[in-house]
Amino acid sequence: MEIIIVKDLVMRFGSFTANDRLTFSVAKGEIFGFLGANGAGKTTTMKVLCGLLKPTSGSVVVAGYDVALHPEKVKRNIGYMSQKFSLNDDLTVTENILVYGTIYGLGRAEIGKRTDAMLERLELTQVRKRLVKTLSLGWKQKLAFSVATLHRPSIVFLDEPTSGVDPVTRRRFWELIYEAAENDITVFVTTHYMDEAEYCDRVSIMNRGQIIALDTPQRLKQAHGVESINELFVRMVR
């Protein structure tokens, strides 16, 4: 089942075309890597998919709703985590969880139950009353991911979730991503780490507003006769 269906998406800002006739789809439960150089138009696409930007033309259906017509229904069914900001520093761990839970319409009892389970799983129970700013970046990002999936969205959008995080924590973070995918949460992730791209079910590479490659990492490497996605990326985007 396709959970994201993008057809001929065009996004223009004045005379600048950020997305030029994008067409792709993402299956339910898939981990979809969305690669591209800085300024390739990834963030714009992500914003359109999340209902933050209205496309200039083309159709975008996310979680069964057209983003141009029902952005609010789309927003209810997605989770969003950005690299730039994830949690409120001056609130405690549990307060952060509570805020997001309420914003997504969960009841207090339900939030309490999910919070306990989540903290247990992340081994963060002992720091639940601490302010988020006292946590390390790695812990913060793991917590942020769990918060973004607290309301059990059908898709979670991750915008460079691991930038600035050490390799060990990145690996643990990807374990969380796999866990989510096993629970049928579709993961749409942008990253600049090409080793992470290898972990994805499928990856797309974007350049100057267009998708220039899209397939499983294995098949892409074979088709272009390269050893790694890193090599492929450098060759295609140059």
Binding site: L52, Y80, N88, I103
Partner: protein, 366 residues
């Protein structure tokens, strides 16, 4: 609704947790009222003056005593020569000299027209004028009591209505209220919204089921509460510490303040929708709000004395209407029939700002 409530609680927690800012928010208004209240109030009280008694008779001594007992002046310096006056002013030891003309007593008794000259240090023009008016008043009343003085050809009687002692604080309290409320509400809301933009957390909020309108309400509500507390503090300080009279109705005063806070909030949202960073929002608030409120609301400098174009400018800035309305209610005891026009003007300003802000906010989203 519960999502909105959760969001408002979160925003309040942010503010409460940042106790340093919170203290500033509560202390600054109080400090402003006290400082400006005492500085701006140039009421005449125990002002040190000099007396140059050329007559040295019993009547001149009685006049001097009368001036001393008025409570306005303290004749501390005895001047004996014209040349002493300017140096005394320069040294700052006195601000005014009362010169009692020669043969004061006998001229007075013989209806020849006694002469008293008031020489004031006009390097501070406003104070000089005020002092001379007061002194003239004291001398007039002295002369009237004697019943023998030559009446001047035209007698001008000056009476200051509503504020008989020309108390500067009466004027400054509404002005400070205008200042404090617009800063707390407009500046703090604009900073809080631009901070979200800078941190990138605005994106998270926009990607959530909260609507832009709910986000704005959530951001603004805690500051509405803060501004209300500030308004009450400032009014009470003015009422109890500076004895500003409250002759009108408290309900009306509250209504005026509420409208003004609404207007300031709208302005804050507008600023935040235009300013990309906190720094820009800060400067926009300071130069766009603080200075015009201080200079063009009629609270420190009388609008009537300004060139026409500054007067015209003051007419398109809302604080002027607020200051006028508050003064009308507190000092003149005016009712709604008098201030409704100013209320309407403020509501109109608020709606215009709000409409512009919402339009701008939407553009940014699309």
């Amino acid at each position: 609704m519960t999502a909105l409530k959760g969001f408002i609680i979160k925003e309040s927690k942010h503010i409460l947790r940042d106790w340093k800012t919170l203290v500033i928010l509560f202390v600054i208004p109080v400090a402003l009222v006290l400082i400006i209240g005492y500085v701006v109030s140039i009421d005449v009280k125990d002002t040190v003056i000099g007396v140059y008694d050329k007559a040295r008779d019993s009547e001149s001594a009685r006049l001097t005593a009368r001036i001393a007992s008025s409570g306005y002046f303290k004749p501390v310096k005895v001047i004996t020569h014209d040349a002493e006056i300017a140096p005394a002013f320069r040294s700052g030891s006195i601000r005014m000299v009362v010169v009692i003309g020669e043969r004061f007593g006998s001229r007075m008794l013989q209806n020849e027209g006694a002469v008293v000259q008031i020489i004031a240090d006009a390097s501070e023009a406003n104070t000089a004028q005020l002092l001379s008016i007061y002194c003239e008043g004291v001398i007039q009343s002295f002369a009237a009591g004697e019943d023998v003085v030559v009446k001047p050809p035209v007698e001008v009687e000056v009476r200051m209505f509503f504020n008989p002692s020309l108390n500067g604080v009466y004027m400054s309290i509404p002005g400070i209220m205008a200042l404090v409320l617009i800063i707390i509400t407009a500046m703090m809301t604009s900073l809080s919204i631009t901070r979200e933009k800078e941190l990138g957390s605005m994106e998270i909020l926009l990607a959530s089921p909260l609507t832009p309108f709910q986000i704005i309400i959530g951001k603004v509500t805690p500051y509405l509460a803060l501004a209300t507390i500030n308004a009450v503090t400032v009014v009470l300080l003015g009422y109890f510490v500076f004895r500003v009279p409250m002759t009108g109705s408290w309900e009306l005063l509250f209504l005026i303040n509420f409208v003004y806070i609404f207007l300031s909030l709208a302005l804050g949202i507008l600023i935040s929708s235009l300013a990309p960073t906190q720094m820009v929002a800060m400067f926009a608030s300071l130069f766009g709000l603080l200075l015009p409120t201080m200079l063009l609301s009629g609270f420190i400098f009388p609008l009537e004395n300004m060139p026409w174009w500054l007067q015209a400018l003051s007419r398109i800035l809302p604080p002027r209407y607020y200051v006028e309305a508050v003064k009308a209610v507190m000092i003149q005891g005016s009712t709604l029939e008098v201030v409704w026009q100013r209320l309407i003007v403020m509501v109109a300003f608020g709606l215009i700002y709000m409409a512009a802000a919402v339009k701008k906010f939407k553009i940014r989203l699309d």
